[in-house]
């Protein structure tokens, strides 16, 4: 299935009234006309050919023609709390938030406290930039209806499904909890100085250093059987502080992930048994792309943007999030 398109091809789709979810380079997004689309910036993708980077093509998810009702809504850090409330009764919502923005941090830290958290199907991603340009370019989102391109806020397409269809949101996480220490944190946050290791207070930076922990392995929490990752961004030895790509939460018990020999093999084992052709949208993490050298490799038939964070109800790291549209029996 073709997923990468030239700008001219995407313009044609927009002019035909197609409802589109787009990902790609900001310069390409700026060439598009107004229409029923939302987008985020990123130059990395899992495509037909496998993992690749391109600034010449846009990644396109086209909503099926039987979907007639969509609503595009822009949120700020202050209003994103309404995202679950605004979802249609039968359907799903796709959210895109620029990395490192106030809305990114607000959503990541507070989503579990938002009204009706997890009672509507919310999937999405954190937009990014080329890794060589992290300190020079800002990740962006785009509202196709207004042609606004923003470096803060969230753009959401609320999608209503016909009565005979339902959305099935799930994740593929190849990481499991390792057999090591149990780690808890005294506060929610993207940074941690202190942690409790098996109940004993320590400096977390010192712990990771002394134990020679491979920081490419995420912290993994067991959410009633769902393995939820928090990736380590770095260790600041001077500040004695550890930074994360998603927040750690007070009271949650984490373990360092068990090592993985080969991402592709582990990933393929976790592919859903169902027909992957039903998968409508998916996104995978830039850290999986980089750490597991996914450039040029295929992850089955699952394709989508490579992202700076994945959203399946809440922010995740080093995970593939996907949503399928299925027929109700």
């Amino acid at each position: 299935m073709k997923v990468l398109f030239k700008v001219s091809e995407v313009i044609d789709k927009i002019k035909q009234g197609k409802k589109l979810l787009l990902a790609g380079d900001e310069n390409l997004l700026r060439q598009l006309p107004a229409g029923q689309w939302i987008a985020g910036t990123i130059p990395y993708f899992m495509a037909e050919e496998g993992g690749l980077e391109t600034r010449e093509h846009l990644f396109v998810n086209e909503l099926p023609s039987y979907i007639s009702n969509i609503k595009i809504t822009k949120y700020s850090a202050g209003t994103v709390a309404n995202v679950y409330n605004d979802a249609p009764p039968n359907g799903f919502s796709i959210i895109i938030i620029p990395a490192f923005s106030p809305t990114h941090f607000a959503f990541a830290l507070n989503a579990p406290q938002f009204p009706n958290f997890a009672t509507s199907q919310l999937i999405g991603w954190i937009s990014g930039v080329h890794l060589d340009e992290i300190n020079r370019q800002k990740p962006k989102i785009a509202n196709g209806e207004t042609l606004e391109i923003l470096d803060d806020g969230a753009i959401v397409m609320h999608v209503e499904l016909p009565e005979n269809k339902y959305a099935d949101l799930n994740i593929i996480n190849i990481f499991t909890q390792g057999a090591g220490d149990t780690i808890t944190f005294p506060a929610d946050g993207f940074k941690a100085t202190d942690a409790e290791i098996n109940g004993e207070k320590v400096n977390f930076a010192d712990y990771l250093t002394a134990k020679k922990i491979d920081t490419r392995l995420p912290l993994v929490a067991n959410y009633c059987g769902a393995m939820i990752n928090t990736s380590i961004q770095g260790i600041d030895q001077q500040q004695k502080q550890v930074t994360f790509y998603a927040p750690v939460f007070k009271g949650i018990e984490y373990k360092i992930a068990a090592p993985i020999d080969d991402y592709i093999t582990a990933f393929m084992k976790q592919l859903p048994q169902e027909d992957t052709g039903q998968i409508f949208f998916s996104c995978n993490c830039i850290l999986n792309y980089v750490y597991s050298n996914l450039a040029g490799k295929k992850t089955g038939e699952i394709m989508g943007p490579i992202t700076f964070g994945e959203i399946a109800y809440q922010l995740l790291n080093q995970t593939l999030a996907y949503i399928s549209i299925k027929d109700l029996a």
């Binding site: 009764p89 579990p112 009706n116 958290f117 997890a118 009672t119 509507s120 199907q121 339902y166 099935d168 949101l169 799930n170 994740i171 067991n222 959410y223 009633c224 059987g225 769902a226 939820i228 939460f249 009271g251 949650i252 399946a312 109800y313 809440q314 109700l328 029996a329």
Partner: protein, 80 residues
Amino acid sequence: MNPSNISDQTLKDLICKDLDVEFEFLALKILLSRLRLKAKSDSTPNAINNSIAELRKLFDRFANLPALQKDLQKIMESER
């Protein structure tokens, strides 16, 4: 499976007793995990009732989804 057939006491046990039930529906796993965490810091009847109401809201919203139907069956079986 009608979610209203599940008693409040069963949902309270699900939240407060860390019953080891293997669920399929991702939203239920994530919400229940959050509610269990909340119950550890505030186990007053009011807080637990609010959490039960949150679970019921999820059940009502997704009651026709196959994965949740299976999970509701497991919850019913945990009652016995």
